[in-house]
């Protein structure tokens, strides 16, 4: 059942780097913050969150846009997303500015609800990518258990928030909650615990059937999401960093694919200078892209006479809704001259000898 190529590594870079990006950073941060526990987001935490947004969170949005629009071939593969969705989102922005009390709160609410759903999709995607890289074949039941567990972490956190009738504030835009009954939150929590037990049993079942322990990196994304959405409720400071941690996961894989694709398409010889130069170029483009999307774009609304806070809220929501659409297609982009970008390893890029498999999964 389990099989992999003896020459492929389970990791995009290596075990420490992949573990750090995929979930280790979340656990490190969570347990570090336990030592400085407060029941509010302190100004220091907010300041750190804003600073890190410039270099992690905002570029991550630019990365998805850049990936879709960087080539004509990409745009042609998904024309509705590439051409039509920007107009749809801009329409939402115009309506939000025109009807700040009617439309803007629902526009923001749409993004607030969609965001954790999108996180869940990424968590499942990364789990399956590492399963594929390890050569591990998950059967339909195992896949369902992973999906159910991940989505219930998201359901629990979302339903908890929607029970309140007080509503919430996002950059001065107040949006109402659905006011779902408390029993739904309680039921979702029981379902989560059941899903957690099933998730544990699935790991045991797989390990027994394959006579080896399931690689931790495959369990890590779901476990990380559990901390993001369920445990973080007791740690407001940690919540501040959850979008950054999600972006960090994204960056690792987006970086790998970007470098592998460019190398294959342009037939660049693998080398360390290529990795350094292309990484710098790609990051700088997306750093600037992130600044345009999240710093300069909201200023347009301010310049047009709207409250800058309100403008930020609407623009942030718009950029993220656009991202959810774009992210739905960029991982499916195909290029015949690129060989298995999701299976790349940094050694493919540097030209150094590939590392041996470290998954614990023996080749068939």
């Amino acid at each position: 059942m389990a099989h992999t190529s003896p020459n492929r590594s389970l990791y995009f870079v290596n075990a420490p780097v992949d573990y750090f990006f995929i979930g280790g950073s979340s656990f490190l941060l969570f347990f570090s913050l336990l030592f400085f526990y407060t029941d509010v987001r302190t100004p220091e935490v907010v300041a750190a969150g804003v600073f890190l947004s410039w270099i992690i969170n905002w570029p991550h949005f630019s990365m998805s846009t850049y990936r879709l629009y960087q080539s004509k071939s990409n745009i042609q593969q998904y024309p509705v997303t590439a051409y039509f969705i920007p107009f749809l989102v801009i329409g939402g922005v115009f309506l939000s500015f025109s009807y700040p009390l009617l439309v803007a709160p629902i526009f923001v609410k749409l993004f607030i609800l969609w965001s954790p759903y999108h996180f869940s999709g990424q968590t499942i995607g990364i789990t399956f990518i590492y399963a594929m890289r390890s050569g591990m074949k998950l059967d339909a039941l195992e896949r369902k258990v992973i999906i159910v567990f991940v989505y219930f972490t998201f359901f629990v956190s979302t339903i908890r928030a929607e029970v309140s009738r007080d509503g919430y504030d996002y950059y001065g835009i107040t949006y109402a909650s659905f006011g779902v009954p408390q029993w739904m939150a309680t039921l979702a929590e029981y379902c989560l615990w059941a899903a957690l037990v099933l998730f544990g049993l699935m790991i045991v079942r797989w390990s027994v059937r394959n006579r080896k322990v399931m690689p931790i990196i495959i369990i890590l994304p779901a476990a990380t999401q559990y901390f993001w959405f369920v445990q973080s409720v007791y740690m407001p400071s940690f919540q501040e960093f959850v979008p950054l941690l999600h972006s960090l996961q994204y960056m690792l894989i987006a970086w790998g694919i970007q470098l592998k694709e460019k190398m294959d398409v342009k037939k660049i010889t693998p080398s360390k200078p290529y990795v350094l130069a292309e990484t710098s170029r790609w990051f700088m483009i997306n750093f600037i892209g992130g600044a345009i999307l999240f710093y300069f774009l909201p200023k347009v609304g301010g310049a047009l006479g709207y409250s800058s806070l309100f403008s930020m809220g609407v623009m942030f929501a718009a950029v993220q809704i656009h991202h959810f659409f774009v992210d739905g297609v960029i991982w499916k982009l195909k290029n015949n001259s690129v060989a298995h970008p999701l299976m790349m390893n940094v050694s493919d890029l540097t030209g150094s000898k590939q590392s041996a498999p470290v998954s614990g999964v023996s080749p068939s």
Binding site: F84, Y117, G172, T174
Partner: protein, 312 residues
């Protein structure tokens, strides 16, 4: 496929028409308004407050008592959230010393929730401490937008009768988060026993009251009317977009592949759901099942959206 597009557009149009009519008829009632008015002469101009005497008598009595004791003088408007509220701080925050009588009068009052008087733009909503509904003392807010999520949680006791332009001046002050960068304070607060005592002796923008501009609210019907006007426009625009997307799908169906046509249909479903949430979310405070239905609907939508431009 064209019939599917057109049927969805038609059903949606019908559903919204029915809703808008029912909404308009529900906004006809007018609560009783007291003759007394409270005037806040602020650093930015006069605000005139009227009270819903029958609905929140304790709150009205409390505010008038505190005003007569001079307790609102020098209180600041400390929190401004555009589209939501301008909030006056608790009297105990003002810094000036209190007499024994003044201090004794600063006691909490019980909530007076009303199912008739909702949190609508221009109304006055009493603040409270934490989650205790019976902890309101003196801080209150002028609502700058409808806030149905506060219904049944906070007491609405009156409305801003005149001073919309003053509120607009306050809104023009740059904010640091929700804190005004320049102090807005009450220079003098006083009670007039009949509204004519104030309007007969002071200059004010009469048109402002009649037309109900900015945040000035003359009566409930005008608020309902304005909300419905906005809602009508938004719903009409969104239905227009749905029809435009349907026509786009219809005319381009030969150029588009199946996945692209399905994606345009998904766009229509997204816009339809968005419209329904705009229309129905304010209702969910009265009808919890509505909130559940919308919540479930949104997640079905997300699930559907994962098929966006999915290759066959």
């Amino acid at each position: 496929m064209k019939y599917v597009f057109l049927c969805i557009a038609a059903l949606f149009l019908l559903g919204n028409t029915v809703y808008v009519y029912s909404e308009a008829s529900a906004e006809q009632r007018r609560p009783t308004v007291s003759e007394q008015r409270v005037v806040f002469s602020t650093s930015h101009g006069d605000l005139v407050f009227a009270f819903y005497q029958g609905a929140a008598p304790e709150h009205m009595a409390q505010i008038i008592r505190l005003v007569r004791l001079g307790l609102y003088n020098s209180v600041k408007a400390f929190r401004i959230i555009p589209g939501f509220i301008v909030q006056f701080e608790e009297i105990r925050e003002r810094g000036a010393p209190f007499s024994r009588e003044q201090s004794a009068s600063l006691r909490p009052i019980k909530a007076e929730f009303s199912s008739e008087i909702k949190h609508l733009k221009g109304r006055l909503s009493m603040a409270r401490w934490g989650n205790n509904p019976d902890s309101a003392v003196s801080s209150f807010s002028v609502l700058l937008g409808d806030a149905p999520h506060l219904d049944g949680k906070y007491t609405v006791f009156g409305f801003l009768e005149s001073g919309g332009s003053v509120i607009n001046k306050m809104l023009s002050i740059p904010l640091r988060r929700s804190l005004p960068s320049k102090d807005i304070y009450v220079i003098n607060a006083y009670v007039v026993n009949h509204k004519d005592e104030y309007y007969g002796a002071n200059t004010f923008d009469a048109e402002e009251i009649v037309a109900g501009q900015a945040v000035v609210v003359d009566d409930t019907a005008s608020i309902g009317g304005r909300r419905n006007d906005g809602l009508h426009n938004v719903v009409s625009i969104l239905i227009g977009v749905i029809i435009a997307v349907s026509l786009l799908g219809f005319f381009l169906q030969k150029q588009l592949n199946k996945s692209q046509v399905v994606s345009l249909l998904l766009v229509n479903i997204l816009i339809s759901t968005f419209t329904l949430v705009i229309v129905l979310l304010p209702r969910s405070s009265d009808m919890p099942w509505m909130g559940v239905a919308l919540f479930v609907g949104i997640f079905v939508l997300f699930r559907l959206m994962s098929n966006f431009e999915k290759k066959p």
